[in-house]
């Protein structure tokens, strides 16, 4: 079954680690309906998971009174996912992220963590970090496009 009409699906997650998997499952289901290839769906799942983890951990600072919104909007040839936090911790994205430097990590000169934003940017066609007004409702916007030649 291939879905070509514009559709919006929304999910609201608690700010608790592990619930990013609910968003991954939802994004995967929508992408499958749209006809994305399995490898692109895996890319999307990881990007969505990392965006949700950032929103839970840094945006909402693990405050379980705050939730993370995930809005998936599809049209005929692309899927946009917005991951919205309720807190003040998500920084506006500075631009193109550099690839993690594994040599510096191995030498202890760089934190082994901190790869989430790189993975997001590397795995989707578009990634945009938008700071909310008054530090609220900041979001990450991800887009993957159907490859017509695949």
């Amino acid at each position: 079954m291939t879905e070509s009409k514009s559709t919006t699906v929304e999910v609201r997650l608690p700010s608790r680690m592990g619930y990013e998997k609910v968003a991954m499952g939802t994004a995967s289901a929508v992408a499958k309906l749209m006809g994305f290839r399995e490898d692109r769906i895996e890319d999307l799942k990881t990007a969505v998971a990392e965006a949700c983890i950032n929103a839970i951990e840094h945006g909402n600072r693990l405050n379980e009174k705050l939730s993370v919104g995930v809005v998936l909007s599809s049209d005929a040839d692309s899927l946009e996912v917005k991951v919205i936090d309720d807190g003040t911790g998500t920084k506006k994205h500075p631009g193109k992220l550099e690839r993690p430097d594994i040599d510096r990590k191995m030498l202890g000169e760089e934190d082994p963590r901190g790869m989430g934003m790189f993975l997001i940017q590397a795995l989707v066609d578009e990634a945009e970090w938008v700071a909310g007004t008054d530090g609220k409702s900041s979001y990450v916007r991800l887009v993957i496009r159907l490859d017509k030649d695949a």
Partner: protein, 119 residues
């Protein structure tokens, strides 16, 4: 919500006759997996273990925090003069491990037999 990470250790010998310590993981590898990943590694006797093989064939989900734990394991192993290899990653996580540079410090193989044949 996250599936608990299980781990166990097996001792094998490669066809070339080298002892290989296999760390087998099961479940998710995420921020909650520190004990299963690093704890299991740190419990190995450093003087006896020279070649470590990480088995990801029963792991469905690895996030950036889980990748960071693998990198911490690689750092500790490098400092102890041990060689680390891995097998059983899906095509997607093979790509992710390659993107973040892990393949520079840990050879990846499709299967345990592929890895052992090369060790």
């Amino acid at each position: 919500m996250q599936s608990e990470t299980k781990s166990r250790v097996d001792q094998l010998t490669s066809p070339a006759g080298h002892p290989v310590t296999v760390l087998r993981f099961e479940g998710d590898i995420a921020s909650t997996s520190k004990e299963a990943v690093l704890g299991t590694y740190q419990a190995l006797p450093k003087s006896d273990v020279k070649i470590i093989l990480l088995d990801f064939s029963k792991v469905d989900y690895i996030n950036s925090s889980g990748i960071a734990l693998v990198i911490q394991l690689l750092i500790e192993a490098a400092n102890a003069g041990q060689k680390v290899y891995a097998f059983g990653l899906s095509a997607h996580f093979t790509k992710v491990f390659t993107m973040v540079g892990i393949t520079k410090y840990a050879g990846l193989y499709p299967t345990q037999n592929d890895a052992l044949a090369d060790l």
